[in-house]
Amino acid sequence: MPDNNNHNSTEKRTATDGGVAGQPGQAHRDTDYLNAEVNLLKPSTLFMRDHLRVVWTGFAIWFVIVFGPVTLTRFAPGLMTSQVPGIGFPLHYFLVAFAAPTGALILSFWYARKRDALDRKYGIEHTTAEETGRGGETAVTDGGERTEGGDDE
C-alpha cells in the first residue's frame, strides 16, 4: 500500500484517479520513473513494457505495409502487376499508392487510441490539455506538484 514508499506524493495522486486505476495504477504510483533506465530493448517499468508492446506491434505491421508490396513486386512481378478487378488498378500500384498511406494513417489512429487507453489503465490524466472542459478537480492538477524521485535521497 502507499505508505511503504518514500515519496511524499501519494495523497495527491490518489486524489487524481479516484481509485479506479487498480493494479496498474498502483504500480504507476509506486514507480519512480527518474530512476528507471530508458532502453528501447529493455523496458524497465511496467508502463514502458506495456507501451513498447504496442509500439513494436505497430512497427511490425507498419514494416510489412511499407516494404511488403514493393518487395513482393520485385520477386513475383507477374502476380503483383495483375489487374485488380473492379477498380482497374494493377495490384502493386494500388497497394503502394493507396494502401500504404492509408495503412499508416489507420495505424496512427490505432496507436493514439491505444496510448490513451494505457493512460487510463494507469490512471494518468492529462488535465493540462483540457483544463476548461473538466470539473473542479482540475484545480489541483498542476503536474509540478508531483514529486518525482528527486527528493528521495
Binding site: V38, L40, T73, G88, A97, L105, F109, T128, G143, R146
Partner: protein, 560 residues
C-alpha cells in the same frame, strides 16, 4: 546513371505547353493571398523569442495538425510528387509512401517524448541532451543546410508556377524563370522577417486550407470535365492506368528495386529528423496533443497524397493528347513535369481564374514550407549558435535581429542556388531528407531511447552522417553545376545514391554512435534523468520541460 535523376533530365526551365503570360484574375488571386499572409503575419507579429520560436506553446490538436500538414506539404508534395509519378512512374510512388508512412515512426517513437523534452529547436535537443556545444553547432549547421537545400526545390516550384500567373516579368539580366524566383523569394522573406513563428503557425492553418482545397478542387474539376472521374478520383484513376503506357505503372523501369527502397527509407528517416517537422511538437500544449496532432497531420497529408497520383494520371493523359508523347525522346521535360498539376488544369480548358487557383495553391504550399524551414534555419543560427555559443548575454532584441538577418541570408542563398537548380523539385527536396535522416534522426532516436548515448558517440555519429551524405552529393549533384557528364563514380552513385543515401548512412551512424558511446564514459545522472522524464507517463505542465522537472526536483514551476 540510374534512377530519377536520369529520368528527369534538365532541359531548359521553360515548361513546354504552359501558357506563360500575365493573367489578371490569377494575379489578383495570388497577390490577395500573399497580402492575406502578410496581414496574418502582421496581426500575430512577435517581439519575444518564446513566441517567435514555439508560439507560446499554445497550439491545439487540429490547428497543429493543419500546421503540420501545411508545413509539410511543400511544392514537393503539391507539384513535385505528381511530376515524379508522371515521369518516373512506379518509382515516384516511393515518395508517396516515404512521405506519409514516416509519420507513424515519428508518432510512436518521438512525438510525445519530444514534447516532454520541450526545448526550442532541434539543435537545442542535441546540445542539451549530449551536453555539448560542438554537437549543438553541428546540429545547427545541419539544420541551416537542410533549410537551404530544401528551399531550393521550393523556390524552383514558385518560380515555375509564378510564370503561369505573372508571365515573364523580365528583371534585367535574368530569364523569365529566374526573375520569378527572385520575385517570389523576396515576398517570402519579407513576410517571414516580420512575423516569426506565431504568425507562421497561424498562417500555416490558413495555407493548409488554401492549398488542400485548391488541389482537391482542381483534381475533381479536371477529372469531372474530362470524363475521367466522378465522386472519387483518388480511386477512379485506376481504370486509366492501363492506357497511360507501361512507363507509368510498370515496376522498376525507371528506378531499381534497391533505389526504390533506398529512396523510401531515406524519406522516412528524413521525416523523423527534419527540424521544421520536429519543432511542431514543441509548439503544442501537451504530449497528448503532440500525439493526436500527428494523427490529424497525417490525415491532412493523406488527403493530398491520395490525390496526387490521380492528378499525375490525368495530367499525363492530357499532356499526351494535347502536347506530345510523355515518354521517350524528347518526352515531357522536368520543368513541364514540375507544373503538371497546373498544366492539367490548363489543358482541361478550365477558366483562367480556376487554373490560377490551382497555381496559387502551389505557391501557398511552397511559401508555407519555406516559412517553416527558414524559421528552423534562422533559429539554429540565432538561438543555437549566436545565443548559446557566441553571445550568452544576448538580449531578446539582439536574438530576434540575428534571427531576421539569418532569414535574409537564407533567402539570398536559396535564390542564388535556385536560379539554376540541379534537379527537379522532389529530387532537390529529397537531398535534404537524406541529410536529416543521416545526421539528425539517429541522434534523436538514440538520444531518446538509449540513455547511455553520450557526447562522444553523438559527435562521432553526426560527423559520420555528414560525411556519408556529402560524398554522393559531390559525386552526383556537383557535376550538374560544373557541367560534367553524369556522376564522377557511377558505382558509388548506384549503391549510395544522393537521393537515398540514408539507407547506407543510418545503420553506420547508429553503429558508430553506439560503439563510441560504449567505449567512453556514460553520461551523468542528470542527463539520464532528463531522458527518463521524457518517457515517464506522468503529466507535465504546459511550460515545463524535462530538464525543469529533473533540476528542481519537481518543485512548482511558478517561480518563472
Amino acid at each position: 546513371m540510374i534512377g530519377a535523376a536520369s529520368v528527369v533530365l534538365q532541359s531548359g526551365l521553360l515548361p513546354e505547353g504552359l501558357n506563360v503570360s500575365f493573367k489578371i484574375a490569377p494575379a489578383i488571386l495570388v497577390l490577395g493571398m500573399l497580402l492575406l499572409f502578410l496581414a496574418i503575419g502582421f496581426v500575430f507579429r512577435v517581439a519575444d523569442t518564446e513566441d517567435m520560436w514555439v508560439a507560446g506553446r499554445s497550439i491545439g490538436n487540429v490547428e497543429n495538425g493543419m500546421a503540420i500538414g501545411a508545413n509539410w506539404m511543400s511544392a514537393a508534395s503539391y507539384l513535385g510528387m505528381a511530376a515524379l509519378i508522371a515521369l518516373s512512374g512506379f518509382y515516384g510512388l516511393a515518395f508517396v509512401v516515404g512521405w506519409t508512412t514516416g509519420y507513424f515512426i515519428l508518432l510512436i517513437f518521438m512525438a510525445a517524448q519530444l514534447r516532454r523534452f520541450g526545448k526550442y529547436t532541434a539543435p537545442d535537443f542535441v546540445g542539451d541532451r549530449f551536453n555539448s556545444d560542438a554537437a549543438r553547432a553541428i546540429a545547427a549547421i545541419t539544420t541551416f543546410l537542410i533549410g537551404f537545400v530544401y528551399s531550393i526545390g521550393q523556390a524552383r516550384g514558385m518560380g515555375l508556377v509564378g510564370l503561369y500567373i505573372f508571365g515573364d516579368i523580365g528583371l534585367p539580366g535574368l530569364t523569365g524563370y529566374q526573375s520569378m524566383v527572385v520575385f517570389m523569394m523576396a515576398i517570402t522573406v519579407g513576410y517571414l522577417t516580420i512575423s516569426g513563428m506565431l504568425g507562421a503557425t497561424k498562417n500555416m492553418a490558413v495555407q493548409y486550407v488554401i492549398l488542400i482545397s485548391a488541389f482537391i478542387l482542381g483534381l475533381y474539376v479536371v477529372g469531372f470535365t474530362q470524363g475521367y472521374s466522378t465522386l472519387l478520383p483518388q480511386l477512379e484513376y485506376g481504370t486509366l492506368i492501363s492506357q497511360l503506357g507501361a512507363e507509368f505503372s510498370e515496376p522498376f523501369t525507371s528506378g531499381s528495386y534497391y533505389l526504390w527502397i533506398a529512396t523510401c527509407f531515406s524519406l522516412i528517416v528524413g521525416t523523423c529528423g527534419l527540424p521544421h517537422v520536429l519543432v511542431r511538437f514543441y509548439t503544442v500544449e501537451s504530449e497528448r496533443t503532440a500525439r493526436w496532432s500527428t494523427v490529424w497531420g497525417l490525415f491532412f497529408i493523406c488527403l493530398l497524397y491520395w490525390s496526387a497520383p490521380a492528378f499525375a494520371a490525368f495530367g499525363t493523359d492530357l499532356f499526351s493528347e494535347n502536347i506530345g508523347a510523355v515518354y521517350g525522346d524528347p518526352g515531357m521535360s522536368s520543368a513541364a513535369g514540375d507544373v503538371i498539376v497546373v498544366l492539367a488544369a490548363q489543358l482541361a480548358e478550365l477558366p483562367q481564374w480556376f487554373v490560377g487557383l490551382v497555381a496559387a495553391g502551389g505557391i501557398a504550399a511552397a511559401i508555407a514550407t519555406v516559412a517553416g524551414l527558414f524559421i528552423a534555419g534562422s533559429s539554429a543560427i540565432s538561438h543555437d549558435i549566436y545565443t548559446n555559443i557566441v553571445n550568452p548575454d544576448a538580449t531578446q532584441r539582439q536574438q530576434v535581429l540575428v534571427g531576421r538577418l539569418s532569414i535574409v541570408l537564407l533567402g539570398l542563398l536559396t535564390t542564388l542556388a535556385a536560379l539554376n537548380p540541379a534537379a527537379p523539385i522532389a529530387a532537390l527536396v529529397s537531398y535534404a531528407f537524406s541529410l536529416a535522416g543521416s545526421v539528425l534522426f539517429p541522434m534523436f532516436f538514440l538520444g531518446m531511447w538509449w540513455e547511455n548515448t553520450n557526447r562522444e558517440g553523438a559527435l562521432a555519429g553526426m560527423l559520420t552522417g555528414l560525411t556519408i551524405w556529402t560524398i554522393p552529393m559531390i559525386n552526383e549533384v556537383l557535376p550538374t553545376y560544373v557541367g560534367a557528364e553524369g556522376p564522377f563514380v557511377p558505382v558509388l552513385a548506384q549503391w549510395v545514391p544522393a537521393i537515398g543515401s540514408a539507407l547506407i548512412a543510418v545503420p553506420i551512424v547508429f553503429a558508430v554512435t553506439i560503439v563510441v558511446s560504449m567505449m567512453t564514459d556514460e553520461p551523468d545522472l542528470e542527463t539520464k534523468q532528463i531522458v527518463r522524464q521524457c518517457h515517464s507517463p506522468e503529466p507535465m505542465t504546459r511550460q515545463q520541460t524535462a530538464e525543469d522537472v529533473v533540476t528542481d526536483g519537481g518543485q512548482t514551476p511558478s517561480d518563472d
